[in-house]
Protein backbone atom coordinates (compact mmCIF):
# COMPACT_ATOMS: atom_id res chain seq x y z
CA UNK A 1 0.00 0.00 0.00
CA UNK A 2 1.59 3.29 -1.06
CA UNK A 3 1.69 6.48 0.98
CA UNK A 4 -0.78 8.29 -1.27
CA UNK A 5 -3.46 5.65 -0.70
CA UNK A 6 -2.90 5.63 3.06
CA UNK A 7 -3.19 9.43 3.11
CA UNK A 8 -6.41 9.32 1.07
CA UNK A 9 -7.95 6.78 3.44
CA UNK A 10 -6.90 8.79 6.48
CA UNK A 11 -8.31 12.05 5.10
CA UNK A 12 -11.52 10.31 4.03
CA UNK A 13 -12.00 8.92 7.54
CA UNK A 14 -11.40 12.38 8.95
CA UNK A 15 -13.97 13.83 6.56
CA UNK A 16 -16.46 11.09 7.43
CA UNK A 17 -16.04 11.82 11.15
CA UNK A 18 -16.68 15.51 10.48
CA UNK A 19 -19.77 14.70 8.43
CA UNK A 20 -21.15 12.30 11.05
CA UNK A 21 -20.61 14.90 13.80
CA UNK A 22 -22.42 17.59 11.80
CA UNK A 23 -25.06 15.15 10.57
CA UNK A 24 -26.01 14.06 14.09
CA UNK A 25 -26.40 17.69 15.13
CA UNK A 26 -28.61 18.44 12.10
CA UNK A 27 -30.69 15.28 12.64
CA UNK A 28 -31.25 16.02 16.33
CA UNK A 29 -32.22 19.61 15.59
CA UNK A 30 -34.69 18.57 12.87
CA UNK A 31 -36.31 15.92 15.05
CA UNK A 32 -36.38 17.68 18.43
CA UNK A 33 -39.86 17.19 19.87
CA UNK A 34 -41.46 20.21 21.46
CA UNK A 35 -44.09 19.24 24.04
CA UNK A 36 -47.38 21.09 24.32
CA UNK A 37 -49.51 20.54 27.42
CA UNK A 38 -53.12 21.10 26.47
CA UNK A 39 -54.55 23.68 28.81
CA UNK A 40 -58.06 23.59 30.29
CA UNK A 41 -59.37 25.75 27.44
CA UNK A 42 -58.39 23.42 24.59
CA UNK A 43 -61.48 21.63 23.30
CA UNK A 44 -60.08 20.08 20.10
CA UNK A 45 -56.74 19.42 18.42
CA UNK A 46 -57.11 19.07 14.68
CA UNK A 47 -54.63 18.71 11.86
CA UNK A 48 -54.25 21.32 9.16
CA UNK A 49 -54.83 18.57 6.59
CA UNK A 50 -58.42 18.26 7.81
CA UNK A 51 -58.99 21.49 5.85
CA UNK A 52 -56.88 20.44 2.86
CA UNK A 53 -56.24 16.67 2.63
CA UNK A 54 -53.33 17.03 0.18
CA UNK A 55 -51.25 18.25 3.11
CA UNK A 56 -51.78 15.03 5.09
CA UNK A 57 -48.56 13.31 6.10
CA UNK A 58 -46.36 16.23 5.07
CA UNK A 59 -44.09 18.01 7.53
CA UNK A 60 -46.37 21.06 7.41
CA UNK A 61 -49.48 19.17 8.51
CA UNK A 62 -49.55 21.33 11.64
CA UNK A 63 -51.54 20.86 14.82
CA UNK A 64 -54.52 23.20 15.03
CA UNK A 65 -55.52 23.95 18.63
CA UNK A 66 -59.14 24.97 19.11
CA UNK A 67 -60.33 26.71 22.27
CA UNK A 68 -64.12 27.08 22.29
CA UNK A 69 -66.12 29.14 24.75
CA UNK A 70 -69.52 28.20 26.11
CA UNK A 71 -71.04 31.42 24.73
CA UNK A 72 -71.26 31.90 20.96
CA UNK A 73 -69.16 34.71 19.57
CA UNK A 74 -66.52 35.45 17.01
CA UNK A 75 -63.58 33.32 15.87
CA UNK A 76 -59.94 34.31 15.73
CA UNK A 77 -56.89 32.54 14.33
CA UNK A 78 -53.44 33.09 15.84
CA UNK A 79 -50.46 32.09 13.69
CA UNK A 80 -47.13 31.48 15.40
CA UNK A 81 -44.06 30.37 13.51
CA UNK A 82 -44.77 31.90 10.12
CA UNK A 83 -41.10 32.80 10.46
CA UNK A 84 -39.82 30.35 13.08
CA UNK A 85 -36.61 32.32 13.71
CA UNK A 86 -38.89 34.93 15.32
CA UNK A 87 -39.69 32.94 18.46
CA UNK A 88 -41.88 35.39 20.39
CA UNK A 89 -44.91 34.49 18.29
CA UNK A 90 -44.57 30.76 18.86
CA UNK A 91 -43.98 31.25 22.59
CA UNK A 92 -47.01 33.50 22.89
CA UNK A 93 -49.02 30.79 21.13
CA UNK A 94 -47.77 28.27 23.70
CA UNK A 95 -49.01 30.55 26.50
CA UNK A 96 -52.46 30.73 24.91
CA UNK A 97 -52.76 26.97 24.30
CA UNK A 98 -51.51 25.98 27.76
CA UNK A 99 -53.36 28.64 29.78
CA UNK A 100 -56.22 30.44 28.06
CA UNK A 101 -59.80 29.74 29.03
CA UNK A 102 -62.20 31.05 26.42
CA UNK A 103 -65.59 32.08 27.76
CA UNK A 104 -67.04 33.53 24.58
CA UNK A 105 -66.22 32.79 20.96
CA UNK A 106 -63.52 30.54 19.55
CA UNK A 107 -59.75 30.92 19.54
CA UNK A 108 -57.77 28.82 17.06
CA UNK A 109 -53.99 28.64 17.44
CA UNK A 110 -51.36 27.21 15.11
CA UNK A 111 -47.95 27.12 16.82
CA UNK A 112 -45.98 26.01 13.78
CA UNK A 113 -47.52 27.69 10.75
CA UNK A 114 -44.44 26.66 8.79
CA UNK A 115 -43.27 23.56 10.63
CA UNK A 116 -40.70 22.82 7.92
CA UNK A 117 -39.08 26.17 8.71
CA UNK A 118 -38.69 25.17 12.35
CA UNK A 119 -36.45 22.22 11.40
CA UNK A 120 -33.54 24.13 9.91
CA UNK A 121 -31.45 27.15 10.77
CA UNK A 122 -30.13 29.76 8.37
CA UNK A 123 -27.54 28.22 6.08
CA UNK A 124 -24.20 29.82 6.87
CA UNK A 125 -25.77 31.91 9.63
CA UNK A 126 -24.17 30.02 12.54
CA UNK A 127 -27.49 30.14 14.39
CA UNK A 128 -27.91 28.01 17.50
CA UNK A 129 -29.94 24.87 16.70
CA UNK A 130 -32.31 25.42 19.60
CA UNK A 131 -32.99 27.54 22.67
CA UNK A 132 -34.36 26.88 26.15
CA UNK A 133 -36.79 28.86 28.25
CA UNK A 134 -36.27 28.56 32.03
CA UNK A 135 -39.38 27.48 33.95
CA UNK A 136 -40.21 26.64 37.55
CA UNK A 137 -39.87 22.90 36.74
CA UNK A 138 -36.69 23.07 34.61
CA UNK A 139 -36.15 24.20 31.03
CA UNK A 140 -38.23 23.73 27.92
CA UNK A 141 -36.27 23.51 24.67
CA UNK A 142 -37.56 24.72 21.32
CA UNK A 143 -36.22 24.37 17.79
CA UNK A 144 -34.57 27.59 16.59
CA UNK A 145 -35.87 27.53 13.03
CA UNK A 146 -35.38 29.76 10.04
CA UNK A 147 -37.30 32.34 8.01
CA UNK A 148 -37.81 29.88 5.14
CA UNK A 149 -39.04 26.32 4.68
CA UNK A 150 -36.35 23.67 4.94
CA UNK A 151 -34.76 22.97 1.52
CA UNK A 152 -35.06 19.27 2.41
CA UNK A 153 -38.82 19.74 2.05
CA UNK A 154 -38.88 22.11 -0.92
CA UNK A 155 -36.04 22.08 -3.42
CA UNK A 156 -34.80 23.53 -5.73
CA UNK A 157 -35.61 27.23 -5.56
CA UNK A 158 -36.61 28.94 -8.81
CA UNK A 159 -34.40 31.59 -10.43
CA UNK A 160 -37.19 34.10 -9.78
CA UNK A 161 -40.16 33.42 -7.55
CA UNK A 162 -43.39 34.41 -9.27
CA UNK A 163 -46.14 34.94 -6.74
CA UNK A 164 -49.48 33.25 -7.36
CA UNK A 165 -52.01 34.58 -8.32
CA UNK A 166 -50.66 38.14 -8.79
CA UNK A 167 -47.70 37.20 -11.00
CA UNK A 168 -45.48 39.62 -9.08
CA UNK A 169 -41.78 38.74 -9.25
CA UNK A 170 -40.14 38.28 -5.85
CA UNK A 171 -36.75 37.12 -4.60
CA UNK A 172 -36.05 33.47 -5.47
CA UNK A 173 -35.65 32.40 -1.85
CA UNK A 174 -39.09 33.73 -0.94
CA UNK A 175 -40.61 30.77 -2.75
CA UNK A 176 -40.00 29.13 0.66
CA UNK A 177 -41.17 32.13 2.71
CA UNK A 178 -44.60 31.45 4.21
CA UNK A 179 -45.24 35.17 4.43
CA UNK A 180 -44.74 35.61 0.69
CA UNK A 181 -46.87 32.70 -0.52
CA UNK A 182 -50.33 33.71 0.64
CA UNK A 183 -53.03 32.93 -0.44
CA UNK A 184 -51.29 29.78 -1.63
CA UNK A 185 -52.44 27.27 -4.24
CA UNK A 186 -53.67 23.71 -4.11
CA UNK A 187 -51.16 22.30 -6.62
CA UNK A 188 -48.21 24.52 -5.67
CA UNK A 189 -45.10 24.06 -3.58
CA UNK A 190 -45.23 22.83 0.02
CA UNK A 191 -45.18 26.43 1.28
CA UNK A 192 -47.98 27.44 -1.09
CA UNK A 193 -50.05 24.39 -0.12
CA UNK A 194 -49.62 25.30 3.55
CA UNK A 195 -51.00 28.79 2.96
CA UNK A 196 -53.82 27.34 0.85
CA UNK A 197 -54.74 25.00 3.72
CA UNK A 198 -54.82 27.88 6.20
CA UNK A 199 -57.00 29.92 3.83
CA UNK A 200 -59.41 26.95 3.73
CA UNK A 201 -59.36 26.87 7.55
CA UNK A 202 -60.16 30.60 7.71
CA UNK A 203 -63.07 30.15 5.30
CA UNK A 204 -64.42 26.91 6.81
CA UNK A 205 -64.27 28.16 10.40
CA UNK A 206 -65.58 31.64 9.54
CA UNK A 207 -62.58 33.31 11.13
CA UNK A 208 -63.14 36.99 11.90
CA UNK A 209 -59.58 38.11 12.72
CA UNK A 210 -56.23 36.54 11.85
CA UNK A 211 -53.18 37.49 13.92
CA UNK A 212 -49.84 36.68 12.28
CA UNK A 213 -47.09 37.05 14.89
CA UNK A 214 -43.64 38.23 13.86
CA UNK A 215 -40.45 39.92 15.02
CA UNK A 216 -38.25 42.31 13.07
CA UNK A 217 -34.69 43.59 13.05
CA UNK A 218 -34.20 47.10 14.42
CA UNK A 219 -32.80 48.27 11.08
CA UNK A 220 -36.12 47.47 9.40
CA UNK A 221 -38.68 50.29 9.35
CA UNK A 222 -41.70 48.03 9.92
CA UNK A 223 -41.13 47.32 13.61
CA UNK A 224 -43.04 47.63 16.90
CA UNK A 225 -46.21 47.92 14.92
CA UNK A 226 -49.49 46.40 13.79
CA UNK A 227 -49.59 45.97 10.02
CA UNK A 228 -53.26 46.09 9.09
CA UNK A 229 -55.30 45.26 6.03
CA UNK A 230 -57.69 48.13 5.23
CA UNK A 231 -60.52 46.13 6.83
CA UNK A 232 -58.67 46.33 10.13
CA UNK A 233 -57.15 49.80 10.04
CA UNK A 234 -59.61 51.39 12.47
CA UNK A 235 -59.28 48.48 14.86
CA UNK A 236 -55.48 48.61 14.73
CA UNK A 237 -55.39 52.40 15.15
CA UNK A 238 -57.68 52.25 18.18
CA UNK A 239 -55.62 49.42 19.67
CA UNK A 240 -52.43 51.39 19.11
CA UNK A 241 -53.85 54.36 21.02
CA UNK A 242 -55.23 52.18 23.83
CA UNK A 243 -51.96 50.28 24.24
CA UNK A 244 -49.83 53.38 24.13
CA UNK A 245 -52.06 54.95 26.78
CA UNK A 246 -52.50 52.05 29.16
CA UNK A 247 -49.52 49.69 28.76
CA UNK A 248 -45.87 50.33 29.37
CA UNK A 249 -44.92 50.16 25.70
CA UNK A 250 -45.67 51.89 22.40
CA UNK A 251 -46.93 50.27 19.22
CA UNK A 252 -47.66 51.87 15.87
CA UNK A 253 -49.85 51.06 12.89
CA UNK A 254 -48.84 50.49 9.28
CA UNK A 255 -51.23 50.09 6.39
CA UNK A 256 -50.76 46.92 4.40
CA UNK A 257 -49.38 48.02 1.00
CA UNK A 258 -51.63 46.97 -1.88
CA UNK A 259 -48.70 46.51 -4.25
CA UNK A 260 -46.71 44.12 -2.08
CA UNK A 261 -48.09 40.65 -2.65
CA UNK A 262 -47.95 37.36 -0.81
CA UNK A 263 -48.04 38.74 2.74
CA UNK A 264 -50.62 37.58 5.25
CA UNK A 265 -51.88 41.08 6.08
CA UNK A 266 -52.61 41.68 2.39
CA UNK A 267 -53.74 38.35 0.95
CA UNK A 268 -55.82 36.99 3.85
CA UNK A 269 -57.78 40.22 3.91
CA UNK A 270 -58.20 40.18 0.13
CA UNK A 271 -59.13 36.50 -0.26
CA UNK A 272 -61.28 35.86 2.82
CA UNK A 273 -63.80 37.71 4.97
CA UNK A 274 -61.30 37.90 7.84
CA UNK A 275 -59.55 41.01 9.11
CA UNK A 276 -55.82 40.33 8.82
CA UNK A 277 -53.32 41.87 11.23
CA UNK A 278 -49.59 41.25 11.51
CA UNK A 279 -47.79 42.11 14.75
CA UNK A 280 -44.09 43.00 14.80
CA UNK A 281 -41.90 43.04 17.93
CA UNK A 282 -38.18 43.96 17.97
CA UNK A 283 -35.64 41.11 17.70
CA UNK A 284 -32.00 42.31 17.69
CA UNK A 285 -30.71 38.89 16.64
CA UNK A 286 -32.10 39.53 13.17
CA UNK A 287 -29.99 42.65 12.67
CA UNK A 288 -27.17 42.34 10.15
CA UNK A 289 -24.78 44.33 12.35
CA UNK A 290 -25.13 41.97 15.32
CA UNK A 291 -22.18 40.41 17.09
CA UNK A 292 -22.05 36.78 18.14
CA UNK A 293 -25.22 34.94 17.08
CA UNK A 294 -25.94 32.76 20.07
CA UNK A 295 -28.77 31.74 22.40
CA UNK A 296 -28.09 34.66 24.73
CA UNK A 297 -28.57 37.16 21.93
CA UNK A 298 -31.76 35.43 20.85
CA UNK A 299 -33.28 35.43 24.34
CA UNK A 300 -31.82 38.57 25.94
CA UNK A 301 -31.61 40.72 22.81
CA UNK A 302 -28.47 42.49 24.02
CA UNK A 303 -25.78 43.46 21.52
CA UNK A 304 -23.18 46.21 21.78
CA UNK A 305 -22.83 46.57 18.00
CA UNK A 306 -26.54 47.19 17.54
CA UNK A 307 -26.47 49.71 20.39
CA UNK A 308 -23.65 51.45 18.52
CA UNK A 309 -25.70 51.38 15.30
CA UNK A 310 -28.47 53.07 17.26
CA UNK A 311 -26.10 55.81 18.41
CA UNK A 312 -25.37 56.47 14.72
CA UNK A 313 -29.09 56.81 13.98
CA UNK A 314 -29.26 53.65 11.90
CA UNK A 315 -32.18 52.02 13.72
CA UNK A 316 -35.96 52.37 13.59
CA UNK A 317 -36.38 51.27 17.22
CA UNK A 318 -34.50 52.28 20.34
CA UNK A 319 -32.11 49.91 22.09
CA UNK A 320 -29.91 50.27 25.15
CA UNK A 321 -27.82 47.98 27.33
CA UNK A 322 -31.01 46.27 28.55
CA UNK A 323 -31.65 44.91 25.06
CA UNK A 324 -34.97 43.39 24.03
CA UNK A 325 -35.57 40.38 26.26
CA UNK A 326 -37.79 37.57 25.00
CA UNK A 327 -40.25 38.22 27.86
CA UNK A 328 -40.70 41.80 26.63
CA UNK A 329 -41.35 40.60 23.09
CA UNK A 330 -43.77 37.87 24.16
CA UNK A 331 -45.55 40.24 26.55
CA UNK A 332 -46.04 42.81 23.79
CA UNK A 333 -47.77 40.22 21.60
CA UNK A 334 -49.99 39.07 24.50
CA UNK A 335 -51.19 42.54 25.43
CA UNK A 336 -51.62 43.67 21.83
CA UNK A 337 -53.93 40.75 21.04
CA UNK A 338 -55.90 41.22 24.27
CA UNK A 339 -56.44 44.92 23.57
CA UNK A 340 -57.52 44.30 20.00
CA UNK A 341 -60.00 41.67 21.15
CA UNK A 342 -61.43 43.98 23.80
CA UNK A 343 -61.99 46.70 21.20
CA UNK A 344 -63.38 44.23 18.68
CA UNK A 345 -65.80 42.82 21.27
CA UNK A 346 -67.03 46.30 22.24
CA UNK A 347 -67.63 47.17 18.60
CA UNK A 348 -69.21 43.84 17.59
CA UNK A 349 -70.69 42.21 20.72
CA UNK A 350 -72.28 39.37 18.75
CA UNK A 351 -68.84 38.43 17.42
CA UNK A 352 -67.02 39.12 20.65
CA UNK A 353 -64.20 37.08 22.16
CA UNK A 354 -63.72 36.85 25.92
CA UNK A 355 -61.04 34.85 27.63
CA UNK A 356 -59.18 34.65 30.91
CA UNK A 357 -55.83 33.34 32.17
CA UNK A 358 -53.80 35.04 29.42
CA UNK A 359 -51.15 37.28 30.98
CA UNK A 360 -50.60 40.87 29.95
CA UNK A 361 -47.29 42.57 29.17
CA UNK A 362 -46.43 43.51 32.75
CA UNK A 363 -47.26 40.02 34.04
CA UNK A 364 -45.08 38.28 31.45
CA UNK A 365 -42.18 40.56 32.35
CA UNK A 366 -42.73 40.11 36.09
CA UNK A 367 -43.12 36.32 35.97
CA UNK A 368 -41.17 35.38 32.85
CA UNK A 369 -42.44 33.46 29.83
CA UNK A 370 -41.44 30.17 31.46
CA UNK A 371 -43.91 30.73 34.30
CA UNK A 372 -46.73 30.08 31.82
CA UNK A 373 -45.26 26.88 30.36
CA UNK A 374 -46.66 23.70 31.90
CA UNK A 375 -44.57 20.69 32.88
CA UNK A 376 -44.98 17.98 30.22
CA UNK A 377 -43.58 15.26 32.49
CA UNK A 378 -46.53 15.57 34.89
CA UNK A 379 -49.20 16.00 32.22
CA UNK A 380 -51.58 13.11 31.52
CA UNK A 381 -50.87 11.50 28.12
CA UNK A 382 -54.20 12.63 26.68
CA UNK A 383 -53.23 16.24 27.47
CA UNK A 384 -49.87 16.09 25.71
CA UNK A 385 -49.06 16.78 22.07
CA UNK A 386 -45.83 17.55 20.27
CA UNK A 387 -44.90 20.14 17.71
Amino acid sequence: MNISLIRKIFLSLLGTALMVFAGISFYKSRHLREPVVLGPGVTQVKKLSSYFPKLEGSINDANVYVLEGSEPGGTILILGGSHPEEPAGRLMGWIFVENAIVEKGTVIVILSANRSGTTVTRLGGAYPPDYSIPTEWGEQTFRMGDRWSNPLDQWPDPEVYIHYPSGQELAFVDARNLNRTWPGRANGTLTEKTCFAMIQLIKDEGVDIVFDLHEAELQYPVISTIVAHQKGQDLAAMASMMISGTEDFLIGVENSPEALRGLSHREIGDHTDAVSLLLEAPEPMLDATRGRTDRALLLEGKDEFIVKAGKHGLLFERIDENGWHIDVRVGRHCSTILHILELWSEDQPEKGIRMTQVPRYAEVIANGTGHYLRNPSTAPPNKLTFE
Binding site: S4, K8, S12, G15, M19, F26
Partner: protein
Protein backbone atom coordinates in the same frame (compact mmCIF):
# COMPACT_ATOMS: atom_id res chain seq x y z
CA UNK B 1 -41.38 16.43 -7.65
CA UNK B 2 -39.62 15.33 -10.83
CA UNK B 3 -37.37 18.41 -10.71
CA UNK B 4 -36.50 17.64 -7.09
CA UNK B 5 -35.57 14.05 -8.01
CA UNK B 6 -33.42 15.32 -10.88
CA UNK B 7 -31.60 17.62 -8.47
CA UNK B 8 -30.85 14.66 -6.21
CA UNK B 9 -29.53 12.75 -9.23
CA UNK B 10 -27.38 15.77 -10.14
CA UNK B 11 -26.12 15.97 -6.56
CA UNK B 12 -25.19 12.29 -6.62
CA UNK B 13 -23.45 12.70 -9.98
CA UNK B 14 -21.37 15.62 -8.69
CA UNK B 15 -20.55 13.70 -5.52
CA UNK B 16 -19.26 10.79 -7.65
CA UNK B 17 -17.16 13.23 -9.71
CA UNK B 18 -15.64 14.69 -6.55
CA UNK B 19 -14.82 11.22 -5.22
CA UNK B 20 -13.30 10.30 -8.58
CA UNK B 21 -11.12 13.42 -8.50
CA UNK B 22 -10.12 12.57 -4.94
CA UNK B 23 -9.01 9.10 -6.00
CA UNK B 24 -7.03 10.47 -8.95
CA UNK B 25 -5.49 13.40 -7.09
CA UNK B 26 -1.73 13.49 -6.47
CA UNK B 27 -1.57 16.53 -4.13
CA UNK B 28 -2.67 16.34 -0.50
CA UNK B 29 -3.99 19.93 -0.62
CA UNK B 30 -6.41 18.95 -3.40
CA UNK B 31 -7.47 15.85 -1.48
CA UNK B 32 -8.44 17.94 1.58
CA UNK B 33 -10.33 20.34 -0.66
CA UNK B 34 -12.28 17.51 -2.34
CA UNK B 35 -13.23 16.00 1.02
CA UNK B 36 -14.44 19.32 2.41
CA UNK B 37 -16.59 20.15 -0.62
CA UNK B 38 -17.96 16.60 -0.71
CA UNK B 39 -19.55 16.88 2.77
CA UNK B 40 -22.52 19.17 1.87
CA UNK B 41 -23.33 17.01 -1.15
CA UNK B 42 -23.44 13.88 1.00
CA UNK B 43 -25.44 15.64 3.75
CA UNK B 44 -28.05 16.60 1.17
CA UNK B 45 -28.14 13.09 -0.33
CA UNK B 46 -28.63 11.65 3.17
CA UNK B 47 -31.35 14.29 3.74
CA UNK B 48 -29.63 15.66 6.82
CA UNK B 49 -29.09 19.28 5.69
Amino acid sequence: MIVTLLYYVLTAFIAVLIIWNLVKSKKWQDEILYIIILIPFLLRLLRLK
